[in-house]
Amino acid sequence: MSESKVLHGEYNSPDEHGHFGPYGGIFVGETLMPALDELNRKYAELKADPAFWAEFDYDLKHYVGRPSPLYFAERLTNKLGGARVFLKREDLNHTGAHKVNNTIGQALLAKAMGKTRIIAETGAGQHGVASATVAARLGLECHVYMGVEDIKRQSANVYRMKMLGANVVGVDSGSCTLKDAMNEALRDWATNVDNTYYIIGTVAGPHPYPMLVRDFQSVIGREAREQCIELTGRLPDTLVACVGGGSNAIGLFYPFIPDESVAMVGVEAGGHGLETGEHAAPLCTGQPGVLHGNRTYLMNDENGQILDTHSISAGLDYPGVGPEHSWLKDLHRATYTSVTDDETLEAFRMLTRVEGIIPALETSHAIAWVMKEAPKLPSDHIIIVNLSGRGDKDMHTVAEIEGMTL
């Protein structure tokens, strides 16, 4: 598909087999194929049912607390001295991040499919908490797979999941992070496929996950679009979001894809710097390949082995990315860049001090881009940053870096 068709609203991705251009698709062992087919058919049925969306909207309003505000960060704007910066406050959602939008939607699917057991993978623990939360609310058994490395750096979220009644399963294979947690969740699903619903937390995985997670998360962009017009009388100029798997970014971007005047920037985890190889920036440095059920940009070596990644934030520490981002990159509809761990920490401290909002380390990547770029832009330029999550969970990590013990 040509770029002009994207810009003229004929985007229509994915196709019926889950392909976003050459990306996406279904790459799993045969045991899971029928389960994905069942999920695809059920979602197609519910997607066309207004009652399903009414229930979703009701839960988002009364349980999650939506709509989340679009907040004009006046002091940050003045301090940076350039573009006007607005924050889409997903950190104010119940459980503290955008992740819950998706788990609410997928919990409704699980319920409609009669599944009694929920599994999930998690990196920073936000998706694990959001999954444990909806499982508690529906009285479902919940198992969350989490790398032992992440269990160490996100201990507060581990405890929250346990409080919510979830069984947190430590994964000690490979790099002991998000990628390995996803491997283990896929193995669990293949074993317990009859009674189990797998809530994938990001816009990756086999079709239909990248599509349905996007559909649930795009409430962020729909609200932001209306709120921006209401507050400023027009559309924004630039959207910014951090990208690990890419669910908060797609959630913000998707409703704006046909608006050709709106630029979209995804910020990947630059870790110690792209030149060091110690990062998690597949869109900036990787090549297309196949991992976790879909074709997308990946970090792999010359033999196709997946590389270990590094990021200060567990939620971005992943060698792949949602296939729709790969397609948006190739179409030049969105641009992808990265910031380092150090720039991220600086942004974390600055937003906390200037606006009294403590952002998650994941989210701080997007703020770091704004700190670099907003000063270069004119004062009538409007930036919306997806403030995807709050930083309470990161107190231990940041304190440790600053040499303090809590």
Binding site: V28, E30, T31, M33, G174, V193, D194, V290
Partner: protein
Amino acid sequence: MSRIAGCFEQLKAQGRKALIPYLTAGDPNLETTLSLMHALVANGADIIELGFPFTDPTSDGPVIQRAVERALATNTSLKGVLETVSRFREEDDTTPVVLMGYLNPVECMGYQKFTDAAVASGVDGVLIVDMPPEESHDLEEIIHRTALDGIFLVAPTTSDARVSYICKQSSGYVYYVSLKGVTGAGNLDIESVKENLARVRANTDLPVGVGFGIKDATSARLISEIADAVVVGSALINKIEELDASKHYSREELQRHIALIKEMREAMDA
């Protein structure tokens, strides 16, 4: 006729069933893998499934995951695995070899280059675990221009309509995965395997192999009574795991070490 078809034809004439061991190439290193391949044949293997390692083997249980980690620890690459098949062919021109693994190393090498190298090294079949027939068109198109067989999996969860579709895409043999779950898990339910084999046979004249959950001579014999081929993976890898990576083993030593395969052969032929 491909080596695989020839092998099954010969076995059929003898009234015997195929024994197909799976091993991860490079576990604990490629030298030992080469010797193990010959030792397997000497112990009665008919076809060898040779796994090429991938960092994220999502369809495999802990036993094969550890084998993959050992193989990657000695930097085993797809290229190195193909070279090992070439070296195997220097002495054995009859035993079919099926390459089995995950798609990303193949994508990374490129479909055409992979297929050319597989043919040149003497590979007979290709089974990509995470590439269902729906996504296989580009690779299969290239493979079908050669004598290579494209082998696909059927699972207990596969619907009748999909069984028919998968059988149409398959050549060489059809691999029936006898358990829900990952490799090395659980126990066999022979009755369920029987019912599912009937579903596969209703759709194809190809031989049908059964894998997952076959642990010993007894289970190998039970499966050989109802299937055309018995695939054994994790039980063999458990034996390979006991080998010392720094040691050189003679073929005779390895043959004795993996006597399990000989026991299975004898039980199947009895």
